[in-house]
């Protein structure tokens, strides 16, 4: 049996990990401050993301995972509590944060290339550098043959890859992904997971991934947070103990099944609760 852990284990002698993003006593209540219906979606939640950590969040449907991402990215203000990124309180989306949403967020009026270049051009990066980085991103996302196509000419999975490329090409220091691989087939998910791991290693970004797929969370993460049914709070943290140099072949590791089983053990009861069929 694995032991629950609030943070990844580091060999002795390593410097203490630096907190990159922090949620402290965060709650989010929709309709708070009004006389109408209130919905307590999230919290209270405490979470420290360490610099360079790959953290995944799993939880039953409607438990507030996407709300957590909105609050951490600065897209939504918490009702109570504090949110910090790189030691500063968040007001709006801070520089250095990239978000990939669950829904198709590609710009239908721009080609794949222009979609991917969008943020770089806005940031005033010079044309040659934009071209170099866009070429690379379009290539690693397997979109080279579709660089001049419009999103309407692509499948849902390919459009999602455009959105991932558009975010990653900016080399954000904190990457927040809300079920980005939901529209992809299993093989592509594994390969995209590998690409994400490679980029994470290369850029040393901190990653928070929201996913329904327990195997995906286990394969990609240093640490997985399990959320309760709404209002979502963390009920368990599982450190995977994987080496930083890893890829999708880790699914054949004996340890892999045990971690996934542990996640499901915690999640099963919460999922039943969220469906109203708890024992």
């Amino acid at each position: 049996m694995l032991r629950a852990a609030a943070a990844p284990h580091y060999p002795s002698g390593m410097p203490a990990p630096e907190v990159h993003a922090r949620l402290k006593g965060v709650t989010r209540i929709y309709g708070a401050g009004t006389s109408g219906t209130k919905l307590h979606a999230l919290g209270p939640i405490d979470l420290d993301l360490e610099r360079g950590e790959f953290f995944s969040v799993v939880g039953p449907s409607g438990c507030g995972k996407s709300t957590l991402l909105d609050v951490l990215s600065g897209l939504a203000a918490p009702t109570e509590g504090e949110v910090e990124f790189e030691g500063k309180a968040i007001r709006g989306v801070p520089d250095g944060v990239g978000v990939v949403f669950q829904e198709d967020a590609s710009f239908a009026w721009l080609t794949v290339r222009d979609n991917v270049a969008f943020g770089l051009r806005r940031a005033g990066v010079d044309a040659a550098e934009v071209a170099r980085r866009v070429d690379y991103a379009v290539g690693f996302m397997g979109l080279r043959d579709f660089a001049n196509a419009y999103p309407s000419q692509l499948s849902g999975g390919m459009r999602q890859r455009v959105c991932i490329a558009r975010t990653l090409v900016l080399q954000p220091r904190l990457i927040l992904l809300d079920e980005p691989f939901g529209a992809l087939d299993q093989q592509t998910r594994l390969l995209m997971g590998d690409e994400l791991l490679r980029l994470w290693r290369e850029t040393n970004a901190t990653v928070l991934l929201i996913t329904h797929a327990l195997d995906e969370a286990t394969m990609l993460s240093d640490r997985v947070g399990v959320m309760s049914a709404r209002p979502g709070v963390f009920i368990d943290f599982v450190a995977t103990g994987w080496p930083r140099e890893r890829d999708s072949r880790i699914v054949s590791d004996a340890h892999f099944g045990a971690i996934t089983a542990r996640l499901w053990d915690k999640l099963r009861t919460e999922s039943l609760k969220s469906m109203g069929t708890a024992p």
Binding site: L75, G92, V99, A105, F107, A108, W109, R122, S152
Partner: protein
């Protein structure tokens, strides 16, 4: 052309051929309707002689001006109404029943305000077409996926930048449908107004020909109106379909 397109063309050709036959055999009297071939000859003559060029240009100019004013003003009003939900709740039922009111009945007011001439005609055409653009703008802004607004926030865009770089292109297919409708309504508004409010324009020329029993000219001009309306609508429709295919999700 698609199979349906060929069928459509065949139906139109059959109706024209039938009318031609009915007119030529005398089953429809010449005082009622001219054979379509004679309408074509008459239109050709009108265009060649150039006697009515200024009327044709006046009408086309008024239609374009009306469509432009209605499109820009309708978009601006639609954007304001969309931005103020309370105003929208108050106004939307009025907009929904707007086309139940025969706008033309207000023509005496426009004559009092603008006098007889182009301004009154354009005002009536704008009044007739503007609500189509307001409604299209509201629909377009409603249909912008919320995730695009979130994306704009992640890219740290100001509201003005977001409006220009995200909202406007995302709503473009619906806005263009509005523009297409303003053109159609403007054409109706201008031609109809010219019958009663003008001493120039195609509508006036048709009415003048009718009052002087000049069937040749009247039908030639009617054919011109039909050709202009169909050609403009076909061109706008082609752009509309391209936009829909590219931009709608």
């Amino acid at each position: 052309m698609t199979r349906e397109g060929w069928i459509r063309l065949a139906i139109v050709a059959a109706v024209i051929a039938l009318l031609e036959a009915l007119c030529r055999t005398g089953l429809i009297h010449r005082t009622v309707l001219l054979p379509p071939s004679e309408m074509v000859v008459s239109l050709w003559h009108i265009l060649q002689v150039g006697e009515l060029d200024s009327d044709i240009l006046t009408t086309l100019r008024n239609v374009l001006l009306s469509a432009l004013v209605a499109s820009f003003l309708g978009f601006a009003l639609g954007a304001v109404i969309h931005a103020v939900p309370r105003l929208r709740h108050a106004i939307e039922p009025l907009l929904a029943s707007y086309y139940a009111i025969p706008t033309f009945m207000f023509y005496p007011i426009f004559i009092v305000v603008f006098g007889v001439g182009a301004q009154a005609i354009i005002a009536i055409a704008v009044l007739l077409s503007i609500v189509a653009m307001i409604t299209a703008t509201l629909t377009g802004l409603d249909r912008i996926p919320p995730v695009l607004r979130k994306t704009a926030k992640v890219f740290r865009m100001s509201p003005a930048k977001r409006a220009v770089m995200v909202d406007l292109p995302a709503a473009a297919p619906y806005l263009f449908t509005g523009v297409k409708l303003t053109f159609a309504y403007s054409l109706i508004g201008v031609i109809a107004s010219e019958f009663i409010l003008s001493g120039a324009g195609i509508g006036y020329a048709i009415a003048y020909a009718y009052n002087n029993f000049n069937n040749q000219r009247m039908y030639g001009l009617m054919l011109l109106v039909i050709i202009v309306a169909v050609a403009a609508n076909t061109a706008l429709d082609a752009v509309d379909r391209r936009l829909q295919a590219r931009l709608r999700r």
